[in-house]
Amino acid sequence: MESKTLIFDKVTKSYGGLNALDGFSAELTCGIYGLLGPNGSGKSTLMKCIADIIRPTSGRITYGGEDIYSLGADFRKVLGFMPQDIDFYHSFTAADVIKYFTLLKGGKYNAETVEQALDGVNLLSSAKKRVGGFSGGMKRRLGIAVTLIGTPEVVIFDEPTAGLDPEERVRFKNLIREMGKTRTVILATQIISDIEAVADHTLFIKNGQLIKTVKNDKNIQSHTDVLEEMYMDSFGQKADSHEE
């Protein structure tokens, strides 16, 4: 898979007089990027801008050299986005959700692809169960499966591990590691250990600005401590360093 560069060029998003994003600039290529910042730092706004849910007040976001808003649906075809608060129509079964999103992404499904998608997040046994009866963790797992439909080139996860049990977190991290080899994965979280475990780079975001980029060295035994220290330095508050 050819890797294209996702470039943020002085992206600003204002609400009234308040800048949720303030001249954010970065270049992301193939790999896993951890987006770290406190609440209200602009993480979600940035991800909504990438997903074309909202558009920047100024600045550009390009993918492979082309403006993502000009690409429109063509860009969304290569995008996988899992928002923080995710749920699905309660009358749908897990299999229905997979089929529905496969169609929304312009793909085709069959029994095998649906099984594969659900098996990847350990929900195969719940394929025929209605989403209305799912726990929060099951819905997040289903959200992960939905995000990965169509093997997107750019994948965005907003707080993906919240509500997942330890076993599922491990499974999710393995999945992300695999994905990061061939595509651009953006992982926004406040849980430092998640970023430490999988991210190749950590982007520190504060008041809508990129204040620091760190290439993660997974050879350092206590990398979590390093990141936590940086977090403290950058934001002046303690991050969630461990899994809940």
Partner: protein, 353 residues
């Protein structure tokens, strides 16, 4: 490739329909549909008016296509009745003068009472005949049949508030489902999660409403059969004076089917109105209030509407006017125009999701 896309579109439409077919929606739909015949029965109880029996007798005597012979029959009958009634004084005098026997005078009195009792019904039949004669120039062929119950039923056959409530509740629930279930972002980030899905959503709701319209009309027809019998469905609509201005030479059944078409077109218009309202007003209760206002204001202010608007909206269920007042083609055009206008509003105010 194209076939694949078509297949995908059909499957997506199937899922949009599945969103509508929840257990709660189906139960509410069935309750509304069961309540309707009860209301219809209460509103149009079967009526037995013995005073109209004479009129019924005339219509049964003249049953069938209107012909000049039937006009002549009315003229002859008028002459006969007038003759009997006009001789009252003369006959009384003849009996007083001994020119008539008591038996002959009794026989005359019996005829006089019959003629007097029959006269109002005859006047009605004569007016009906006059109306039929006036149609001869238009080329329409009215039929004689006992049309009063049917005419009365169709004159009161206008708005269906239950159906309007049904559309508002289901439409808003449907268009608000993404926000309700927190799916706006994940769906909006997909290539076909916006315009195409909106269009398919409207299509699904229109299909659902069409089925609702058909069932609702089915209940109306059932009420009509209970009240008037089913044999009159094939009668020309022009046989009833309330359709004097109707421009269509069709049967009762065909007219009801045309009304169904108008209602379906207006249902589509209502769906687009609801989508627009939902896009402009995010809050569920506020959108419910705005939708109810937009849809029920014409019903509440029906009498204040100008005539052209009355005839336009009469078949739409948006007013309480009789379907007999409907200008079907204008109404369909108005519905299509409403769809276009609200689509334009919806598009210009369209939020990102």
């Amino acid at each position: 490739m194209k076939n694949n896309m078509r297949g995908g579109t059909a499957q997506l439409l199937g899922f949009e329909l599945k969103k509508l077919l929840t257990a709660v929606n189906i139960i509410v739909f069935l309750i509304l549909m069961l309540v309707k015949p009860l209301i219809m029965l209460w509103y149009y109880p079967p009526e037995y008016d013995f005073n109209l029996n004479f009129y019924r007798e005339y219509t049964e005597t003249l049953y069938g296509e209107h012909t000049p012979e039937k006009s002549q029959y009315i003229l002859d009958e008028r002459a006969r009745l007038d003759d009997i009634i006009s001789k009252e004084r003369e006959t009384a005098d003849a009996f007083t003068n001994g020119e008539l026997t008591a038996e002959e005078y009794d026989r005359y009195n019996t005829e006089l009472i019959r003629a007097s009792n029959r006269y109002p019904a005859f006047e009605r039949a004569a007016a009906h005949c006059e109306y039929f004669d006036s149609l001869s120039e238009s080329g329409k062929t009215p039929w004689w049949f006992y049309e009063l119950p049917l005419s009365e039923f169709l004159a009161g056959f206008g708005a269906d508030p239950l159906f309007l409530v049904f559309i508002i509740v289901f439409g808003l629930r449907f268009f608000g489902a993404d926000e309700l279930y927190g799916m706006s972002l994940s769906v909006g980030a997909t290539p076909y999660g916006r315009q195409k899905r909106s269009a398919l959503g409207i299509a699904a709701l229109v299909i659902f409403c069409t089925v609702g319209c058909v069932i609702s009309m089915g209940f109306d027809m059932l009420s009509l059969v209970m009240r008037c019998g089913g044999e009159y469905f094939n009668m020309p609509i022009c046989s009833m004076e309330i359709f004097a201005d109707c421009g269509y030479d069709v049967t009762v059944l065909q007219y009801l089917l045309l009304i169904l078409l108008v209602r379906i077109t207006w249902s589509a218009a209502l769906c687009v109105i609801l989508l627009t309202v939902k896009r402009l007003v995010k809050n569920t209760y506020a959108s419910l209030a705005v939708s109810a206002a937009v849809i029920f204001i014409p019903l509440a202010a029906a009498n204040a509407l100008p005539d052209w608007l009355k005839t336009t909206l009469a078949g739409s269920q948006l007013t309480g006017f009789s379907v007999a007042e409907t200008s079907l083609d204008v109404s369909v055009i108005a519905a299509v125009a409403t769809i276009a206008v609200f689509f334009a509003i919806s598009a210009s105010f369209r939020r990102k999701l």
